[in-house]
C-alpha cells in the first residue's frame, strides 16, 4: 500500500477546519483495542482501518450557556453541524487520497451502545480528556461535540493529551476547601444525582456514575419516556386517563423530541454549565 504524500494530515486538518470543525485530530486505529470492546473497534467497522480522524466542534455558544431559559439548550442543539463535517471529510478522504473512509454514524448499534465511542476517539486523537462529570473536554475549547471517520489511509496519529483540562484550578481549590467540585455538587450521586468522585494526586477520579439516571436527564423527552408512557397507557384501564397520558404535555413533548432530532441529542447540561473548563477561553459581552 502506497504511503500518503507528505503533509497529507495537515491538509486534511485544514479542510476540516474550513468545513466548520473547531479542532481536528487523528488516532491510530489499533489504539482502540486496549479500551474498546470487540465489535466496537475501528477494524470491526472498516476492515483494514489504519486511522481514525476525529473532529470536534458545534459546541454550545457562550450565549447558550448564559441563557436562563432551559428550552434553549434542550431544543436548539447544534450537534448535527459537526456530523455534517464528519460526513464531508469521509467523502474528501476518498476522493482526494483514494483510501476507504467510513463516517461513523452517531446513533446506537443497539440499546444505548454506540458503533464506536466518539469520546474515546476524541481522547485517542489528542483532542481532549475525560472530565470528572464524564464529557471529554478540550483544553482550549472545553465541551464540544464529536464526529469521527474511520479510514484505511495511514494518517499520522496525534498523541494523547498529557495535561487534562479537568480538574480546573478553581475545582482543585474547591476540593481542598469543601471536598467537592462544581459538577459533583450540582449532581451528587449521594443525593439523587448521577455523579460521585474525588480528586486524587491532582487527578479527577470518578467513583460512581448512574448512567440510567443520567439518561432520564439527558434524554428526558425521548425514546425512553415514550416507552414509559406507552406502557403506562396500555396498563391503564380507565379510558379518560389514557387520554390524559397520550395527549398530555410529557408525551407530546417526547414526540417533538423524537421528531426533531436537535431536541433529543442532549437535554441536561448542568454538570457542564458549572464546569470552569467546559466553556472555552473566550471573553464575551
Amino acid at each position: 500500500m502506497a504511503d500518503l504524500p507528505p503533509g497529507s494530515a495537515a491538509k486534511l486538518k485544514s479542510v476540516a477546519l474550513e468545513s466548520g470543525a473547531t479542532v481536528c485530530g487523528v488516532a491510530d486505529a489499533t489504539a482502540f483495542d486496549a479500551y474498546a470492546p470487540e465489535k466496537h473497534r475501528p477494524g470491526d467497522l472498516l476492515p483494514g482501518a489504519r486511522s481514525v480522524v476525529v473532529v470536534g466542534g458545534a459546541q454550545p455558544r457562550e450565549g447558550d450557556w448564559a441563557a436562563t431559559s432551559p428550552w434553549v439548550m434542550q431544543t436548539m442543539g447544534t450537534t448535527e453541524r459537526i456530523q455534517g463535517v464528519g460526513r464531508r471529510l469521509a467523502q474528501y478522504i476518498e476522493s482526494e487520497f483514494g483510501y476507504y473512509a467510513l463516517y461513523v454514524p452517531p446513533g446506537t448499534a443497539s440499546g444505548d451502545t454506540p458503533f464506536l465511542s466518539l469520546m474515546l476517539a476524541a481522547e485517542l486523537a489528542g483532542l481532549g480528556s475525560r472530565s470528572l462529570a464524564g464529557p471529554v473536554l478540550n483544553r482550549e475549547h472545553g465541551f464540544m461535540y464529536w464526529s469521527a471517520v474511520i479510514t484505511t489511509a495511514p494518517f499520522e496519529a496525534d498523541g494523547v493529551e498529557t495535561s487534562p483540562a479537568c480538574p480546573a484550578p478553581a475545582c482543585r481549590e474547591m476540593w481542598d476547601r469543601e471536598r467537592t467540585t462544581p459538577c459533583l455538587a450540582t449532581c451528587p450521586g449521594s443525593n439523587g444525582g448521577c455523579l460521585s468522585g474525588k480528586l486524587e494526586n491532582g487527578r479527577a477520579v470518578r467513583t460512581f456514575y448512574d448512567a440510567a439516571r443520567c439518561n432520564t436527564r439527558v434524554h428526558t423527552h425521548w425514546v425512553g419516556g415514550f416507552q414509559k408512557v406507552l406502557e403506562e397507557t396500555l396498563n391503564e384501564p380507565d379510558r379518560d386517563k389514557r387520554k390524559m397520558l397520550l395527549y398530555g404535555d410529557f408525551f407530546t413533548r417526547s414526540l417533538w423530541a423524537i421528531t426533531y432530532s436537535s431536541t433529543n441529542i442532549a437535554q441536561c447540561f448542568e454538570c457542564m454549565r458549572v464546569c470552569p473548563a467546559a466553556h472555552g477561553l473566550r471573553e464575551m459581552r
Partner: protein
C-alpha cells in the same frame, strides 16, 4: 460596512431571503413574561430575524398535495441564524443564541417567530392564518437569534402586506378574499377601506391540515388503537396508511412541519416569483 450591514450580509450569504432587526424592548408590549427575548438571554439587546423561502415555484404547481406535504420547508433561515450567531460571537464577541422556536408545551413555543418578524419589519399579519406576509416575497419562514449586541433596529412596516389590492377589490365585490374563500373552516375575517378589520383563525383545526401527519395524528391514532378491543380492527388501524404516514412523519421531521398551503396557494402577495418557464 456598519455592524448591522455586516450581520445581515452574513445571514443573506448563508441563504436568508430577508434579514431584519428588532430591539428587545419592542417585545414587551404584547409578549407575556417568560416568552420575551430578555427572559431567555440575560442582557439581550437585539433580535435578528431571518426569513427563508418556502416551497419552490415548481412545487406550487404540483397537483399532488402530498408532495408539498413533505417538501414544503427548506429550513434555510435556521442555517442563516446559525451563521449570524457564529459571526456575532466569533467576530463581534457578543453572546448570541438561536431563539427557541419549537413548541415545548403543546402548541406553544418559548418565543414567537411571527411576532419577531413583524417587529423586525419583515412582514405583517394576514387574513390567512395570521401568517406573516413579506410585501415583496409573500410567504417566508422565520427564525431568529437573540444577542447581547446592540444593533440599530429596523422599523415595523407602516403599510400592511395584506390585503393585497386585488383582494381588497374582491372583498368589496363579493364579500370575501381568495384565502377566506378557499378555507372557511379555519379562517374568517372582514376588510374595510382596504385594511383588515377583523380576522379569526382556528389554529386547532388548521393543525389537522398543516400537520395532518405528525405528532398530533400519531397521538390521535394511538389513543384509538389502545382503546380498540377488537384485535383484528386494532391490527388494521396499526398498519393503516394514516398511522403509517404518521409514524413516518415522526421519523423524517421534514414530513411533519408544514402540510397545507391552500390559503397561501391562492394568495397574490409575492406571486410574481412563482411565474417561471
Amino acid at each position: 460596512m456598519t455592524r448591522e450591514e455586516q450581520v445581515k450580509a452574513v445571514g443573506m450569504k448563508a441563504g436568508a431571503r430577508v434579514v431584519g432587526i428588532a430591539p428587545v424592548e419592542a417585545f414587551r408590549a404584547k409578549v407575556p413574561e417568560g416568552h420575551r427575548p430578555e427572559d431567555i438571554l440575560p442582557g439581550a439587546r437585539s433580535v435578528v430575524v431571518a426569513g427563508g423561502d418556502g416551497p419552490t415555484a415548481g412545487a406550487w404547481r404540483c397537483p399532488d398535495h402530498r408532495v408539498m406535504e413533505i417538501t414544503g420547508y427548506d429550513l434555510r433561515e435556521n442555517v442563516a441564524v446559525h451563521a449570524m450567531c457564529d459571526f456575532i460571537e466569533g467576530t463581534l464577541s457578543h453572546r448570541a443564541i438561536q431563539a427557541p422556536s419549537l413548541p415545548v408545551h403543546g402548541h406553544e413555543p418559548p418565543m414567537s417567530m411571527m411576532h419577531a418578524a413583524e417587529l423586525a419589519g419583515l412582514g405583517t399579519r394576514s387574513l390567512a392564518a395570521h401568517i406573516i406576509l413579506n410585501p415583496e416575497y409573500g410567504l417566508l419562514y422565520y427564525a431568529a437569534l437573540i444577542t447581547t449586541l446592540p444593533l440599530e433596529p429596523d422599523q415595523p412596516l407602516a403599510e400592511p402586506a395584506c390585503p393585497h389590492p386585488g383582494c381588497a377589490a374582491m372583498y368589496k365585490r363579493i364579500g370575501t378574499t381568495p384565502c377566506l374563500r378557499v378555507c372557511p373552516a379555519c379562517l374568517a375575517g372582514t376588510v374595510q377601506d382596504g385594511r383588515i378589520q377583523t380576522s379569526a383563525y382556528d389554529r386547532e383545526k388548521c393543525h389537522s391540515r398543516a400537520q395532518t401527519y405528525g405528532i398530533g395524528s400519531f397521538q390521535k391514532g394511538l389513543l384509538q388503537i389502545v382503546n380498540e378491543d377488537d384485535r383484528e380492527r386494532r391490527r388494521t388501524m396499526i398498519y393503516s396508511d394514516f398511522f403509517t404516514k404518521s409514524i413516518q412523519s415522526l421519523g423524517f421531521f421534514r414530513d411533519s412541519i408544514a402540510q397545507c398551503f391552500e390559503c397561501m396557494r391562492v394568495c397574490p402577495v409575492g406571486r410574481k416569483y412563482r411565474k417561471l418557464q
